[in-house]
Symmetry: C2
Subunit: 190 residues, 2 copies
């Protein structure tokens, strides 16, 4: 039927990213945006402007509470924490079924136009990405070694480690795929 209400797709989830981060530790918007540039930034991104706006919205909805802290040497700040209703919302969202995300990677689109450029160009494109991916993998491995491997981990840390493991496994898979791709491109250059 045309007029059946569609399922909500539950994928506008900066909201839930913020709830999850604050459920681990109450923080200011500034600290959240720092975190997103660092660890979380590998699998989610948001600007500080977006975060501040969303914090206001989440507070207005009753999912966050805040405490204003005056500071003498630095600007005053607002420390946000998740309320009971916020936790309820987050728990429900976690349990919900989620669609598979599309692998939005510009490289794949570039391959759809790859017949239009010289093989040398595609090779350079892959090599630039290869370097960036290798750097990221190295960073993941360092994080693993420093914070997780062979350590006794809290519950939160065990789950956080899984996100790092995902990074490591996927970067290695990417490298394997890139090697296949590069050898296909090289064959065209002989």
């Amino acid at each position: 039927m045309r007029w059946l209400i569609k399922f909500e797709c539950a994928l506008m989830s900066l909201k839930h990213a913020i709830l999850a981060a604050l459920s681990r530790k109450p923080q200011t918007g500034y600290e959240l945006s720092r975190e997103i540039e660092g660890s979380i930034g590998y699998f989610w991104n948001a600007t500080h402007q977006q975060i501040y706006k969303k914090l206001h919205a989440l507070e207005a909805e009753g999912w966050l509470g805040l405490r204003e802290v005056e500071q003498s040497d630095k600007p005053d700040k607002k420390i946000y924490r998740v309320t009971a209703e916020g936790l309820k919302e987050l728990r429900e969202w976690i349990a919900q079924e989620a669609e598979l995300p599309p692998a939005k990677d510009a490289l794949l689109i570039k391959l759809f136009g790859a017949h239009l450029v010289a093989p040398e160009v595609m090779l350079a494109v892959f090599e630039m990405q290869y370097e960036k991916r290798a750097t990221r993998l190295k960073r993941y491995l360092e994080i693993e070694k420093r914070h997780f491997k062979g350590k006794k981990l809290s519950l939160e840390m065990q789950f956080e480690y899984l996100t790092v493991r995902r990074g490591i496994i996927f970067e290695r898979a990417w490298a394997a795929w890139a090697n296949e791709s590069i050898s296909v491109i090289r064959k065209r250059m002989v």
Copy 2:
């Protein structure tokens, strides 16, 4: 310096996805949106409304030309093709360096809040995803067998095959990661 102009980040690329698709074969907006539900949809998505709007914009910019085709039994249609300027733009974009995309996957956010729910819930979350991923992998393998493996491929097809290979390699990597994750969760359930 604060007032240095920032590098353009070149990641609003539905534009380039459309250019690349049309560079392979002139098509209507309707056919493009069908294609996106199918093959391209695994790594890019867009609604037909978005596509029609973007087609107008790309035509206004001179990157696309169109031919109106009257049909008696079906609605008339507009077949779009890429112009010389469009090809130039696409070629330049392909050669450009691109940032690594964040792995925007809701599962990773769910792991950041996983300490809030029962292990049974997280297990169910992973198992639902596992099924969907397994279905997708199966479809990729069928596509590989039917259209690519052991066949003599044109240049375009060789590159298209690489996108399918990426899908296969990544779904297998995902399964490996999910198995790790599931065994971590199971340990909490004993």
